[in-house]
């Protein structure tokens, strides 16, 4: 199923509250600085552009267990305070996008299902 489903996010009304980050961290049992989705800020000094855009990371598995075994929506979609996220088949998400064009659709694929995580801790000099 993964790959055919995705996340639709309405950029016009995402407030950058980071609830998606926290919900995901709890759901995937990630550490305090690990992310399954991360919010980016786009603030330009053009008097026009101020957006927050959540982007799933390589860890996102679209809450496979939660969705398929518990019958719930993904944790980020469920907890999003601005209620700007939808989960479903990509074809149906396109319909949301047609209705609300200032939006994005992500089709995350959990990297661990394709290739292994690499151990970066060997590079100790990376930490100051």
């Amino acid at each position: 199923m993964t790959g055919k489903n995705g996340l639709w996010i309405d950029i016009e009304f995402c407030t950058g509250c980071m609830a998606c980050e926290a919900a995901c961290r709890q759901e995937l049992d990630l550490g305090p600085t690990e992310y399954g989705i991360k919010v980016f800020e786009q603030l330009l000094n053009d008097g026009q552009t101020f957006n927050y855009v959540p982007i799933p990371t390589d860890r996102c598995n679209l809450c496979a267990t939660r969705v398929h075994e518990e019958g719930k929506r993904p944790a980020c979609v469920h907890h999003c305070m601005a209620q700007v996220m939808e989960y479903g088949p990509l074809e149906s998400l396109i319909e949301h996008m047609k209705r609300r064009p200032r939006s994005v659709i992500w089709s995350p694929v959990s990297r661990s299902s394709q290739r292994p995580y690499h151990d970066l801790e060997q590079f100790e000099f990376l930490e100051e």
Binding site: T15, C17, M18, A22, P32, L43, H78, M81, Q83
Partner: protein
């Protein structure tokens, strides 16, 4: 770890309030417990308040509750205050000691010599009142100069209209936005609040976003181009502290252009002619000069607001912090009153406790109903500050904080000897924090109740009691509607809830204490509702019926607001008093007026040459609640360092680049924060709220309390002359410079 490989998960449904997310709460949550440990929190999808959603602080609950640095047992100090010298004590020993010491203060000096101190309106205020009154002290207080957090606004509303109103976001019905009576506000004014980072006083910040999605046009009054400002139809980057002038300018436009609701004004208000006359003193060119806003933008905002059918207005704490906060609130109260937006779907609606249940007593009436006439009149008359502040005497059943600090130092008319401090970290959070610390250091005995070690515990406590999060306690709450319940999911160490702690002490200190158990007391709270404790615990939330005093709309027309059952508002005249009689009785100006900040380019031009920037302290981060949560790793990671927001052009002028460490200095001292470019007004810098470094509590002599704390830059004595408002934390002066490598 998956749910499958361990013992079964028990799900407890509850309602957020205070410790945990920290806020005033109201969100329905499922707490997942395995082997007695909290493993997960999840929003209840069909809960009318949050509809499944939660903020990052609530979602970090598991980390907060299970934090390794939680205080888990009572401790008694063995060394000097300010040193990390404690021994573990049993609850019996700690409570025996507190009982003994407080009784001794009472015997030697009188119960009034003990203070009961809280911070914001978390689930401790009601319990401190219970304890204070059963012990015999009238000196229950909020640890904030000028009571400048919502209380000035609450009292202004009480004085002018007899009730509190909030923007109608359909929150008082179970159907929410599907309620057929509810309307989308055509215009929504957000006055001095980054609402998407907060949930204040019964309004969930994101309800404004839901209104925006449904077509509301926003007017955002904020010096910072924040996200809400970016979505606004009109953005007013106001000079901080001049909110009173802006409100009067908007009133001027609305009245002189005839945009007010004549029928409503005639039928339901008094004092309109006096208000009309007063606003003539605030023509737009004058207001524009004061506020640094273009006159035409002020006029456009006033017109958009007045023409909205309906219009809503959400206001933030800068209103209170304005030099005469209560008076500014009166002016804004006049805005929604003369435009007829009161008790109207999508306008401003009265907030009343569901079913008339009082779970958080704020008045003498409520206190005596709950605990009996426990305090004789002559004892009540000893409440600190009521001789100076008649509003405190007549409408606010607490000691006035600024008067308390003065009395601690003066010792007259009677000495202050002890303090029971719960749910506040004022060594960090009070303005002029060192003076507050010094005051409490002079007391003979301090108890501090908290969940974590704080600078306040370290500096002041002789005994520290470990408190609990909302996940670790029971409770009922009607603040305001629906009625909700908190249900215990887990216990942590020996921690006890504030209710349990205060209840046990109240019982020890008053042998005639009315209740045997906390449940007995909750049952008494619930009596007016006819709902049993078991039922509310089971259901989680219950709305009162449509025709109740706690449910909108048009309650003034239906006789639901007054004790005599007559139509009208709960004021002497039965109408909204635009010219407030009570203010006159107390000897104050009864009409709104503007007061310039104490430190500004206008009032102190010489100082402004030395400190050319306006300093606006207290910006909120969604990761934190006041001074809390810098010790919770995932929340700290969202905002690892204290930030000062500066316009890039201003930064360049002062030789500063994005992410530089910066000194922010003024006549009070200096603090150090990380520069962050923002599209804030170029003459204004914004510093984040109530920062301290928990990781330095045991290392620094000042417990990490001051280096990044904006309150260090705020002089004392800036509270309003009414005793309600002021502190002026948003409108000071400063300069900035880059921190050099070895500085």
């Amino acid at each position: 770890m998956n749910a499958r490989d361990a013992s079964p998960v028990k799900i407890v449904r509850s309602t957020t309030w205070s410790a945990g997310p920290g806020c005033h709460g109201g969100c329905g949550v499922e707490l997942h417990v395995r082997d007695g440990k909290l493993v997960k929190i999840e929003g209840i999808a069909d809960h009318p308040y949050n509809r499944g959603t939660l903020c990052p602080r609530a979602l970090a609950l598991r980390e907060y509750v299970n934090a390794p640095d939680r205080l888990q047992h009572p401790m008694i100090r063995t060394g000097a205050r300010g040193t990390d010298t404690w021994r573990k004590a049993s609850w019996d020993e700690a409570l025996d000691l507190i009982e003994h010491r407080l009784k001794a203060v009472k015997d030697q000096h009188g119960a009034e010599s003990t203070l009961f101190v809280q911070g914001t309106g978390r689930d401790v205020g009601g319990w401190l009142v219970m304890l204070a009154y059963n012990y015999g002290s009238p000196n229950w207080m909020q640890s904030l100069p000028g009571n400048s957090c919502y209380h000035p606004r609450l009292l202004a509303m009480k004085i002018a209209m007899g009730d509190y109103v909030v923007p109608d976001s359909s929150q008082f019905t179970n159907q929410r936005y599907d309620d057929p009576e509810w309307r989308v506000p055509e215009c929504y004014v957000v006055w001095g609040q980054n609402s998407v980072a907060t949930c204040n006083d019964g309004l969930h910040g994101h309800w404004i976003v839901h209104a925006l999605k449904r077509g509301s046009k926003l007017v955002v009054i904020d010096p910072n181009y924040n996200w809400l400002a970016s979505r606004a139809t009109i953005w007013l980057p106001i000079r901080p502290g001049t909110d009173g002038a802006l409100a009067l300018g908007m009133l001027n436009v609305i009245i002189n252009e005839g945009l007010y609701d004549k029928a409503f004004v005639d039928k339901w208000t008094v004092g309109f002619d006096e208000l009309r006359e007063r606003v003539q003193q605030y023509p737009l060119d004058k207001v524009a000069k004061i506020t640094w806003l273009p006159a035409e933008k002020i006029a456009a905002a006033a017109r958009l607001y007045a023409k909205g059918q309906p219009s809503a207005l959400q206001w933030g704490v800068p209103v209170d912090f304005a030099p005469e906060g209560l008076t500014v609130a009166l002016a804004i109260n006049a805005l929604w009153s003369i435009t007829g937006n009161v008790e109207k779907p999508g306008g401003m609606v009265v907030a009343r406790p569901a079913f008339g249940v009082t779970s958080y007593p704020m008045s003498q009436g409520a206190i005596s109903k709950m605990y009996g006439e426990v305090m004789p009149k002559e004892q009540l008359a000893k409440r600190i500050g009521i001789d100076i502040y008649p509003i405190a005497r007549d409408l606010h059943w607490r000691a006035q904080p600024d008067a308390v600090i003065d009395q601690i130092f003066s010792g007259t008319p009677y000495p202050v000897k002890a303090a029971f401090i719960a749910g506040t970290n004022f060594v960090v959070g009070a303005q002029d924090p060192r003076r507050w610390r010094k005051a409490f250091e002079s007391l003979e005995f301090n108890v501090v109740v908290d969940l974590f070690m704080t600078p306040t515990v370290m500096a002041l406590a002789d005994v520290v009691l470990p408190s609990s999060s909302f996940a670790e306690r029971d409770g009922v709450r009607a603040w305001w509607s629906p009625l909700t319940a908190q249900n215990t999911a887990v216990r942590v160490g020996e921690c006890r809830s504030d209710a349990e702690i205060c209840f046990e002490l109240a019982r020890r200190l008053n042998p005639g204490f009315r209740y045997r158990t906390l449940d007995d007391m909750y049952r008494f709270f619930l009596e007016p509702s006819g709902i049993s404790l078991e039922e509310i615990r089971e259901k989680g939330w219950i709305f009162p019926p449509k025709d109740s005093a706690a449910t909108p709309y048009a309650r003034h027309e239906r006789g639901l607001l007054r004790a005599d059952g007559k139509p009208g508002f709960d004021t002497a005249s039965g109408k909204i008093e635009l010219d407030a009689t009570r203010m006159k009785d107390w000897g104050y100006d009864s009409l709104p007026a503007y007061t310039e900040p104490s430190f500004s380019p206008v009032s102190t031009p010489e100082l402004a040459r030395e400190y050319p920037l306006i300093l606006n302290t207290g910006s909120r981060s969604i990761a934190f609640f006041h001074s809390e949560m810098r010790n919770i790793p995932s929340l700290r990671a969202m905002n690892p360092e204290p930030l000062v927001q500066i316009h890039p052009e201003t930064a360049r002028r002062f030789g500063i680049e994005n992410n530089d460490w910066v000194w922010i200095e003024n006549q009070q001292g200096r603090i150090k924060m990380r520069a962050r470019y923002a599209l804030v007004h170029p003459r204004i810098v914004l510093t984040q709220h109530s920062w301290f470094y928990p990781e330095r509590i045991r290392e620094d002599k000042d417990f990490g309390a001051y280096e990044a704390n904006g309150n260090e830059l705020i002089p004392g004595g800036l509270h309003s002359k009414t005793g309600f408002g002021g502190a002026q934390v948003k409108s000071l002066l400063c300069r900035i410079r880059k921190v050099e490598e070895n500085a």
